[in-house]
Amino acid sequence: MAKLHSETRALFRGLAFVSPWLVGFFAFTLVPIAMSLYYSFCDYTLLQPPLFKGLNNYRLLAHDRVFWKVVLNTTIYALMALPLGMIVALGVAMLLNLKIRGLSIYRTIIFLPSLVPTIASAVLWLWLFNSKLGLINTALRVIGVTNPPGWLTDVHWAMPALVFMSVWGIGNTVIIYLAGLQDVPRELYEAANIDGATTLRKIWHVTLPLISPVIFFNLIMGIIGTLQVFAVPYVMTQGGPARSTYFYTMYLYDNAFSYLKMGYADAMAWIQLLIILALTALAAWSGKRWVHYQGS
């Protein structure tokens, strides 16, 4: 009985210590999440009491042409930016893992773009992509491309331009890969060398399996990041030309804060959450086949 009393006191003491976090979590995370779920079933303008409409927002979304457009755009962007970013980041990390002179300088150069604020880098790339005065088209003209594309003004090139730009900010991913690569035991490479393995075979049979948890982590973060792309296209293209770079989160934001359709935006947010959860679960399920944890 005395022990139970003592455990209860310890529990309350512990709860008292974590109470600032608990209060913050309930007030600013859990309650808003629950309310957003309720509002997703309402017509809610933020300025008036919510009007319960059942599944109406979800029904309207199913027939909303712009909704399907942004779903398609976001899917295409994710399918292009995610693999490209992961492959390039892994390749760069492998290069930065080599024992060469000036390594710390190269690592710093690769990481630097990640430190540039998003809006600043978007403005910078606006000028780089400028079809008339931009550095990219100037370089293309120098090497003989007579009619370089209007990167952000052409419906066919605006999306690839944003994908291309996303690769610029891979510094964080590279650092995570690099940490994983440095954790690979040297003796496994030595054993592979004794077996006469080529560089490619060492990468395929030693490096990739051993850093697969890191690849898995970057995959999950990449899925979440690419499906929530917002700030860069919002600054650079505002969704244009002709909604070719109008993404899911941009439409969600417009519905919430421009059209004052907060309930509709909440429904979109929940669909987005479910999609991300489903894709994460799919990745986790597939990970059982290709992610190898050391010691397991």
């Binding site: 300025l47 309207l60 209007g150 419906v155 244009g240 002709a242 059209y259």
Partner: protein
């Protein structure tokens, strides 16, 4: 040794604690204070406004005028706060129940915020102050109303005309005269505008545009209202119906598309990609890359600020119409002062709004902003000393019966986005004007009907009067 190092460590700890406490006390005693000393015997009216730079400085002068005159007498003090994203911040503040007493919104916010009961109707307060429709140019009085109620009063107003580069006109005199056009004046009809534009277009040997006579998409800020120069309208306010298939509307968009037909969509895009914003020396009219642009009264200020060498080398005239009997057509827009629902000092807030709408203060602000006065009565001094040398043209246009307000539609942000998308498709030749407008008509009417139905249900549920 061990006890010595323990004593040292303990001393350092004490020193750090004392230093921290001393720093804290020092900050409390001598640290930064709110910059503004608020008078204790006054009601503080919080006023949020969107402007920065010169426009903010201009409004600051008016606020200071109020605080040192009427405010001092009535014991009201206006605390001015310049903030970005004014609509979103006002929206969240209203929802949270802590709005400012006065918010400086855009006139297009009035239908949306008014329909959502988030603004205080000002009809009674205006009547108490003797503020009536007769005091204003009709178009601006209309822009402050939604559903029969006055929801705001104007702070700063402008209308749209054709700015043209007289230096380029003179340089191209022979090309213009060869087409039977007068280089000494602006085009007077849309057909003439097209001829002037073609005569002024210049290309480099590879066929790239180097100078455009006119481009509807540059800056393209008023494309949604181009139909008014074609005698059309896309909104029937009596029946609450969109009329995008109106012949005037269709013809206006056909005309817009004719420019990308003639010059090529890619060529126009490439040409425009090098242009800067209105407040930059790379602006298309200032470089100069485009000889004629459709712009508001305030543009004169930007021309002078970004390229003073152009002073005296441009002129403004009414934007030409497509129909012979349609004269002095313009689109008008304004910034408005509103009292959000739940504001604590509504009477005091209106004292300030009424002060801004006095003729002397309004003309002072209009001059500082390089805009027109929304008031019906305009002093000769204002017209003679305005920073826009063509202020009389703009003033006449705003007073014309053909001056058009922003359409009073509560879903205006969606209308604008839908039209912007359509206009981009049109310019890229992805859709014909007829087909595009038919789609816009269907989509927007559905959205409007849905919005009104939701409002009806909400009012019914909450026991309020239906629309």
């Amino acid at each position: 040794m061990s006890s010595f190092s323990t004593r040292i460590l303990s001393g350092i700890k004490r020193l750090v604690v004392v230093a921290l406490i001393a720093s804290g006390l020092g900050l409390l005693a001598f640290g930064p204070r709110a910059g503004e000393e608020l008078p204790k015997d006054c009601v503080i009216v919080d006023y949020w406004e969107k402007w920065t730079g010169d426009e903010e400085a201009g409004m600051h002068q008016i606020v200071d005028d109020f605080n040192t005159t009427v405010g001092r007498k009535e014991h009201i003090y206006v605390r001015y706060l310049s903030t970005s994203s004014i609509e979103q911040k006002t929206l969240v503040a209203i929802a949270a129940g802590t709005p400012p007493d006065v918010a400086g919104l855009y006139n297009q916010d009035i239908p949306q915020y008014g329909a959502l009961d988030s603004l205080q109707p000002l009809d009674d307060l205006a009547a108490e102050h003797g503020i009536t429709a007769q005091m204003y140019k009709k178009v601006f009085w209309d822009e402050c109303h939604y559903d029969g109620h006055l929801y705001g009063l104007v702070s700063s107003a402008y209308d749209v005309a054709l700015y043209y580069n007289t230096h380029i006109f003179r340089q191209s005199a022979s090309a213009l005269e060869a087409r039977g056009l007068d280089p000494q004046r602006a085009p007077r009809t849309i057909a003439e505008l097209d001829q002037y534009a073609q005569a002024l277009d210049r290309f480099d040997p590879s066929g790239r545009i180097t100078l455009a006579g006119y481009l509807p998409m540059e800056p393209g800020w008023y494309l949604n209202y181009t139909c008014i120069w074609f005698g059309g309208s896309w909104w029937n306010n009596a029946e609450h119906k969109f009329t995008f298939t109106d012949p005037g509307v269709v013809n206006s968009f056909k005309w817009i598309q004719s420019y990308s037909d003639r010059l090529g969509p890619t060529a126009v895009n490439d040409f425009r990609s090098g242009f800067g914003t209105i407040d930059s020396p790379q602006n298309a009219f200032l470089t100069p890359s485009v000889a004629m642009v459709q712009q508001g009264t305030f543009f004169a200020h930007f021309i002078h600020r970004q390229n003073p060498s152009m002073d005296g080398h441009w002129a403004a005239a009414p934007f030409p119409s497509a129909l012979p009997n349609l004269r002095d057509v313009t689109y008008c827009n304004c910034d408005v002062l509103v009292i959000p629902r739940g504001a604590r000092h509504q009477k005091e807030a209106f004292e300030f709004i009424a002060f801004v709408n006095r003729q002397d203060e309004m003309e002072k602000l209009a001059n500082l902003h390089c805009k027109i006065s929304p008031l019906a009565k305009v002093s000769e001094g204002f017209l003679a000393h305005s920073n826009n040398p063509y202020i009389r043209v703009f003033d006449r246009l705003a007073a014309s019966p053909n001056a058009h307000p922003t359409e009073p539609i509560p879903i205006l942000p969606e209308v604008n986005d839908e039209l912007n998308d359509f206009e981009q498709q049109l310019q890229l030749q992805q859709v014909s004007p007829e087909e595009g407008l038919r789609q816009v008509q269907v989509r927007l009417q559905q959205k409007y009907d849905q919005f009104m139905e939701d409002q009806r249900q909400r009012r019914k549920q909450h026991g309020q009067t239906a629309f």
